[in-house]
Symmetry: C2
Subunit: 748 residues, 2 copies
């Protein structure tokens, strides 16, 4: 064999066939027929004799011979400048067609501004490629995304990029809590906590700037975000919105400067979402002019309260106000929970909620009150006043309306948590897209293509990027509406409350889905804590639960839709809903029915909106009919609503996806740069078509898409995804997350 | 007002209308017309005068009056035994129709066998309800799930339920690693590490029992699982499968008893999935009869190696064997990496991979070799031998075939990781279902219904439970096939390799989806670490990446399908694939084409299989046609395969979902108890219909379902979900996870 091997290797006529010969044997599994075919081809060549000697099925080349031939073939390739056998029409790389094989392991250099994180490898691989020239005005896009409070966002980025804000890993909960408290103090020292407070206490009276700061912190550590939100948004916000001038004077400055760490003590173990039924009591004792705060049973302990386990000194406690015989429903009272020593006040018992799946930089805890006394003046009395004689007055007579007005503070929380979810998705995409443009695989240098050039990789990331853009703009609009409604009490908040609930639910679900997809797109590298996905996912997960469980919020939105926002958001009883539905169905007959028949051309943005509108109308109308049919059949309205839950969720999603479309459409209609305008139109189309594709079964079932139309949708998603690839890096860079805040070594 | 209030409250005729009156005002938002309507109704009653006085829009009741009335109404309800106003045809509970409101906060008593975990609250709420009588033979189901190695599983459960195996939270990585090492030592002391080893070294030579043990550990801590798998499955397994008698004698006993902690050093930073191109070298130095192990560059460092950062003493290193001029491809060599002192051996550099998103009980690290010398005898030489004179022999001449034979060890890893994913999903479902049967909400005691009685809650959990059952049985069959193929070298492993890849990919994706859904179904409680979801999700996440990236594995399976398993699993070049595809398409013309036309009755299990078969055939056939069309148009075969990636993934999923169906069908066909048999048929139907519903758009587009058929599918999923509700607790209890292993306070 070795002589025939030498012959072949040294025969010039045989050279072109050697790679084929090598691949044929090395592939293994040649059938007898295939061997015979190959023999007859090779026999006809000039070097036929030499070559055919190699093709005897009874005398295959042995391992050393094959290795020798393989080496020769490799050397030959290099000589003629060919890098892989693919170019010779053959291929022995067994996984060359598995392009995602290497969404796996790599590391990059670190940003210059910070020291190496503990445990991070200093290995320097290929530098992050330059994003290349942009086809549009990047500055205009960045300004469009930042919106009206760009200055605040830029300032926050500069603060959060300081070395002291460097992420740390593998901390105990105690260490992490102290780190986060220190970060929050730095923000307070910079005056960020006072941004939303009234000027009377040294604040800037600028809710918009406050939310912009929150949104930017959401590109940093989410424990810090939560701590910040609890202290300044919930604790400070409750005193500001539910209290009056004396409360502002007494508490707000200390809240805004973090001189007094505070808690928002609403949730009870037995009453998470159903806060109207809270059991903690605040009983008026007129003899001492005091309120007595009490936890009647273990299920009524306050639970999951941020700032409670370690740092909180004061709490806004939500409790039923009892005056003599009367129960006036849930009110808010300021209660000191720890003294200057840090020990709980007499009658206050505090327990640590313990380790959590995420957000371990926040000290959540449980609080019990054993007849704790505070002055009557501690009642936050903007919406209801209690006299020294026990007289109770309120401009809002209905206790449930009063309660939901009190609860209005939560709307700000939902708006904020939703924006934070979108920010977290942006961080995840920025890391994964940057890594995808850097990581190359398979073949020799200069030959490999980047991960993000593979269609399945684009499919994982780019429709989610488009959807993230759409939610970003929808939340920007919601924030503006919310700020307006804060400024002007005459604005009807019901539609805003419904929109906030729906956007929060679907925005945070989208965030979780995106973070997971981005993690998987970075393979094993995505699993290292320094690359951020672990904490992003674990922390953002609870966004789907707190400030309102997403499933519950979806159902509340559906109820609002069914009743045409006729009642205040959470304040719709099944009976009233049943009545509204009857009216609505009666009225619907005289209204225009949604268009029927399949949409022909799915490539125009008009048709995208038309499809989303049809689904929105149809799903709400049929939901109403379903409920009515059940009630007519004798079911209790509450039971009827429960029975149609899957339809409820579908109606809510349909509505949200339409309003997100409209919001982004409005937001980008003002673009000056035509190329940017055209790009944003593509992003919006990709968002819409991806949503339609996800629910293609519905559109097919309801005759809004034909089978070919549905295939066109998929084709259009693929095309747009591919079209956006060259812009992907610019699109994520426009989020404005600094290298220091991004921090993931694979993305720098 | 107060006199009219007193009148109304004391007028017997007015009593029945008081709740309505109260609700009307307390609801707020009454229109003038509605007020007028109500007035005319009430005016006609006996107590008309008293009541109508309350309905003056210009003089609404003030807050104290309404509060007084509300209290009276409440007391009246209690007197007549009515608990909520719903029963009076009215309702003022604003969220009564939001049943998921309270997937939130609760806690339960702890199992008796263990002390309270640190930080856990000792509050005792309602006890876990008794599962109630079962409609089927629970023992038979438990035995069916446990399969042939039930004894081993029972023994493992008993070991893992010992107090020393209690979970701990908030540990530093160092503490967690030591805890896990201690656990692994306990298992080794119990002889579990030797279960799969040959009798020659004191083992039980029982691969089945070893995998059964692994599967049971997967119901416990997943860091322990990984440590166990690295030590006994990968390190020990590589020496067992790739080495010969002298290696067994030298290393296996110490591997199986954990006397020598070992590493499986395959992955390199630059080569994750593409292991055929590993760059580490093992160069033969005949003068000293040694192999010289070397890391040529930083990208070739071994990375993510379990046991490397802290505990490993020895490693099976995968390196290219170089002998004089020849490169014989990747071989495995045993290399000591740490001495008795625990310090790295000379020439060995080790770096900690650092904190990870999960599995922080495992010490992953990076290893560089700087010309480290080991005796030639350290080459694991079962498939290729190296003489002292540098002569190389192998019964497998093709280097790529040899490589993939070597890689066969990974198949066991994939089988095991897939089963572990299913176990993790089982744990998550056991916790969420148990909690769902305990947690009640809204209304007074005795009135509330449990979470799991709400349709949307059932929808979240029960189709996933059915799918988990189906994967459980599919993996059980795969394990048996794998064990057979280990015993009998004559068995063609290609189909098993393809099946393992597909089941691993879709099984672990299913696990992640299920864990997340279960977490959300437990609301805020699900976010507490003691309730397990945090670690389950963070740990299981990487199952989608290691032992083969899921997307890559899906594509490899699709390639196998396209080529009819004609090549060894990972060893299919695009060129060969192109050839097979041409042959296949030629042959397909003469074969029966898949049925066309819509399926009429979707309720029979025959039709479920028919739908899954059609999709499987059609998606593979059209995938082949798509690739061929691109090649015919002049594209490179590798590029053609890349371009059709989304179709590839769909074909892989379609195939896996069919084979899972068939596997479960075979597994449950042997049920003795007819009621169990019928229940399992329902579970299988729910699995199939949920899969069909998820891909309804495809079936609609391809004419296999009509619009009404698709609606029938959804209706059937809803019906089956509801039918399974009474059995849910029994179905999760049958997984056999002990209370000590489950440990989540909300589930005990």
């Amino acid at each position: 064999m070795s002589s025939s091997l030498d012959d072949a290797i040294h025969d010039p006529a045989a050279q072109p066939f050697l790679p084929l010969l090598f691949a044929a044997w090395d592939d293994g599994d040649l059938t007898t027929k295939e061997l015979a075919d190959l023999r007859s081809i090779l026999a006809a060549t000039e070097a036929g004799d030499v070559l055919v000697a190699w093709l005897d099925a009874n005398d295959p080349p042995d391992a050393p011979a094959l290795a020798h031939l393989g080496q020769h073939v490799h050397e030959q390739f290099d000589e003629v400048g060919l890098r892989t056998p693919i170019e010779l029409g053959t291929d022995y790389s067994p996984m060359a067609a598995s392009p995602l094989a290497e969404a796996d392991l790599a590391a990059g250099p670190f940003g210059p501004a910070r020291a190496l994180p503990k445990n991070a490898s200093a290995i320097t691989l290929s530098p992050l490629p330059d994003p290349g020239p942009s086809a549009f005005d990047n500055d205009e896009l960045a300004a469009l995304l930042d919106g009206p409070h760009r200055d605040t966002k830029q300032r926050m980025r500069s603060i959060l990029s300081q070395p002291r804000f460097q992420y740390q890993y593998d901390l105990s909960s105690d260490e992490y809590r102290e780190l986060v408290l220190g970060w929050a103090r730095t923000l307070a020292d910079e005056g960020i906590g006072l941004l939303g407070m009234p000027e009377s206490v040294g604040g800037a009276d600028n809710t918009g700037a406050f939310i912009a700061a929150f949104q930017t912190i959401a590109h940093h550590d989410l424990s810090l975000l939560t701590k910040f939100g609890v202290q300044f948004g919930l604790y400070g916000g409750a005193i500001m919105r539910l209290g009056t001038a004396p409360h502002h004077a007494a508490y707000l400055h200390d809240a805004g400067t973090l001189a007094t760490p505070g808690c928002f003590a609403m949730t009870e173990t037995g009453h998470g979402s159903n806060v109207a039924d809270l059991e903690t009591t605040a009983t008026f004792d007129s003899s001492l002019d005091e309120l007595v705060i009490n936890t009647p049973n273990d299920l009524a302990r306050k639970d999951y309260i941020g700032n409670a386990a370690a740092h909180g000194r004061s709490a806004v406690v939500f409790a039923r106000l009892l005056v003599e015989e009367a129960d006036y429903g849930v009110h808010a009272v300021v209660v000191p929970i720890r003294g200057a020593s840090g020990r709980p006040m007499p009658g206050v018992r505090i327990e640590d909620d313990g380790h959590k799946a995420g957000l371990n930089g926040v000290d959540n805890g449980r609080i019990w009150f054993d007849k704790v006394r505070v002055p009557r003046a501690n009642l936050l009395d903007r919406f209801a006043q209690l006299g020294a004689d026990g007289s109770y007055t309120s401009e809002i007579n209905s206790s449930s309306k009063r309660f939901f007005t009190t609860l209005g503070t939560l709307v700000g929380g939902r708006v904020s948590v939703g924006t934070a979810g979108v920010s977290a998705a942006e961080t995840a995409l920025a890391i994964a897209v940057r890594y995808g443009t850097r990581r190359r695989q398979f073949g020799g240098p200069g030959q490999e293509i980047t991960l993000l050039d593979y269609p399945s990789h684009q499919r994982r990331l780019l429709p989610r990027l488009a959807t993230t853009y759409a939610y970003h703009f929808a939340f920007a609009e919601l924030v503006e509406s919310y700020i307006e409604s804060e400024r002007d009490p005459a604005i009807d908040r019901r539609e805003i409350e419904g929109r906030a609930a729906g956007l929060k639910a679907y925005g945070t679900w989208h965030a979780m889905d995106t973070i997971q997809a981005a993690r998987e797109a970075c393979g094993g590298q995505g699993y290292l804590s320094v690359n951020r996905f672990g904490s992003l996912r674990s922390d953002a997960d609870v966004f789907t639960t707190y400030e309102g469980d997403n499933t519950v919020l979806s159902q509340l939105l559906a109820k609002s839709l069914l009743t045409g926002y006729r009642s205040s958001f959470e304040d719709i009883s099944p009976t009233r809903m049943a009545r509204y539905i009857s009216q609505r169905i009666g009225a619907a007959i005289t209204e225009a029915v949604p268009g029927v028949g399949a949409i022909g051309n799915v490539t125009s943005s008009t048709s995208h909106r038309e499809l989303l509108v049809r689904r929105d109308h149809h799903s709400t109308e049929t939901l109403a009919l379903r409920i009515k049919a059940r009630i007519d059949a004798g079911n209790d309205p509450a039971e009827a609503f429960v029975a149609v839950q899957p339809h409820t969720l579908h109606a809510a999603r349909s509505h949200v996806e339409l309003l997100v479309f409209d919001a982004m459409h409005r937001a980008v209609s003002s673009c000056q740069d035509e190329r940017l305008s055209s790009l944003m139109a593509d992003v919006l189309s990709l968002y819409a078509l991806a949503a339609i594709e996800r629910d293609a079964a519905w559109f097919l079932r309801h005759g809004s898409l034909t089978a070919n139309g549905a295939k066109d949708v998929t084709r259009a998603v693929n095309q747009l995804t591919s079209d956006l690839r060259p812009h992907a890096r610019h699109l994520v860079d426009a989020f404005g997350i600094t290298d220091e805040m991004l921090a993931a070594p694979i993305a720098l």
